[in-house]
Amino acid sequence: MKSDLRSYLKEIIGGSISLLTGMWITLRQSFRKPVTVSYPYRTLKLPERFRGHIELKADEQGWAKCVVCMACQKACPSFCIKVNGYKPAGMPRKVATIYILDFTTCSLCGLCVESCRFDALMFSREYNLASFRKEDYVMDMLERLRRRRICRP
């Protein structure tokens, strides 16, 4: 009987101490600097290897480096790349006329970028991509390149 009472009291006291310890830890935390940043006023630096959607690279003359070898289209597990092009007279290589990325099904696996032997693809660093319309995610990569004003019209 007595030992029952003793263990009961011990539990109450030990339990209360454990609760107070927890509260003390929480209280101390309240005076620390917050670990979050208030997005969108402040943003974090993206790491070097951040994988956004893919993007075409341009050569010095402003042409897309892509030679339409189709390797990326074949490597993509989600069939989200459509490439086509032709070989203009006087050019040593083919140039892309269509490069469409369907970002709705892209899994950001990076297989396309790795499969490109001509260093024509890279990951963009864009992550603010919210939209209500599905069509906004079917992206014309050549158009984007043109808008970056480095591609010839």
């Binding site: 539990e11 030990g14 339990g15 209360s16 454990s18 609760l19 310890t21 927890g22 830890i25 929480t26 935390q29 670990v35 790491p47 070097e48 290897r49 951040f50 994988r51 490597a75 597990p77 989600s78 899994s107 950001l108 696996c109 990076g110 297989l111 790795e114 499969s115 990951f123």
Partner: protein
Amino acid sequence: MSIDDQSIHAETFILNLGPQHPATHGVLRIKLTMDGEYIVDAEPVIGYGHRMHEKMGENRSYAKFLPNASRMDYVGALLNTHCHVAAVERLAGITVPERAEFIRVITAELNRVSSHLLWMGAFLVDLGAFTPLLYTFDDREDILDLLESITGSRLTYCYYRFGGVCNDIDDDFIAGTRSFIERMRSRMPMYHSLVTENIIFRKRCEGIGGVPAETCRRYGATGPVLRGSGVCYDVRRNEPYSVYPLFDFSVPVYPEGDCMARYRVRMDEIVESLRIVEQALERIPAGPVMAEKVPLILKPARGECYFNVEAARGSFGMRIVSDGLDAPYRLKVRSPCFSNFSLFRECVRGTLLADALAFLGSLDLVIPEIDR
């Protein structure tokens, strides 16, 4: 049927837990037959998140399945992809450079720590404690930042390739991981006094959700569930793969079989994983991270192989059968959550509803991995 039986039956009622319920951590429905607050029967209804991953594996080339593996158990994605690439490498006879194996072990163990931290936060939310979630997510954030800096993504990594990994790790990553290990170690006492010692937590976990070792055996439960029932089985130790035999780590085992034992196993595993990462960083050799001459389109010879790894939730295995073409003839996944969850129905009979939720949480289920 006697009158007594009838009156008992008249008093039971069906309670739907899920498919959308915060405690099921995904789309899982449990049809509970209740007698007041006590559970008479619990019938799990799974399959809401079925995405045919196995079938998808069979109609695409080996490399195209790489992103899929990380989408089954997205909380411990690197561990799944490790299983996939290792299975294919065994099938195709590819040898992986040692540095790549070290990188795989480092990243996979970091992923295990992040998975356990996420589990801990979510489990405590199930029990009604919200604060620890914020602490665990703070620590987990560090791991995600580290992994993002080398893999490029934060959750569903696609980093391992057949024959190695796609990017080498850099000095920043090594320094960052070292400082994370320090930080995590210093946080453990805080977790123990905040959570483990907490009287409410202990009352809700000790002696609750008991799973005997025999039941685990019958259902094939693995991972922390099995080790929390006193069986010392860890794939990393019992069927060593990769470079795990080189490291000195212990396998935490607790014999009680209750929620508390499973909690303690995971907490100890965090410490052990940190030890492995530390040793791996110490001993990582220089060299290439990708095997040479891995064909672009893999066509393994006819044959089959099974490979399993110790994922965060138990033994995750893949059987791949090749008929010599560029896509597997059959790809079968053995997911630990499915087996771990199977014993729920038997063990939960006769317990209180609130205890059943604690039990469910302590199993650490990732529903998309059950459904695949």
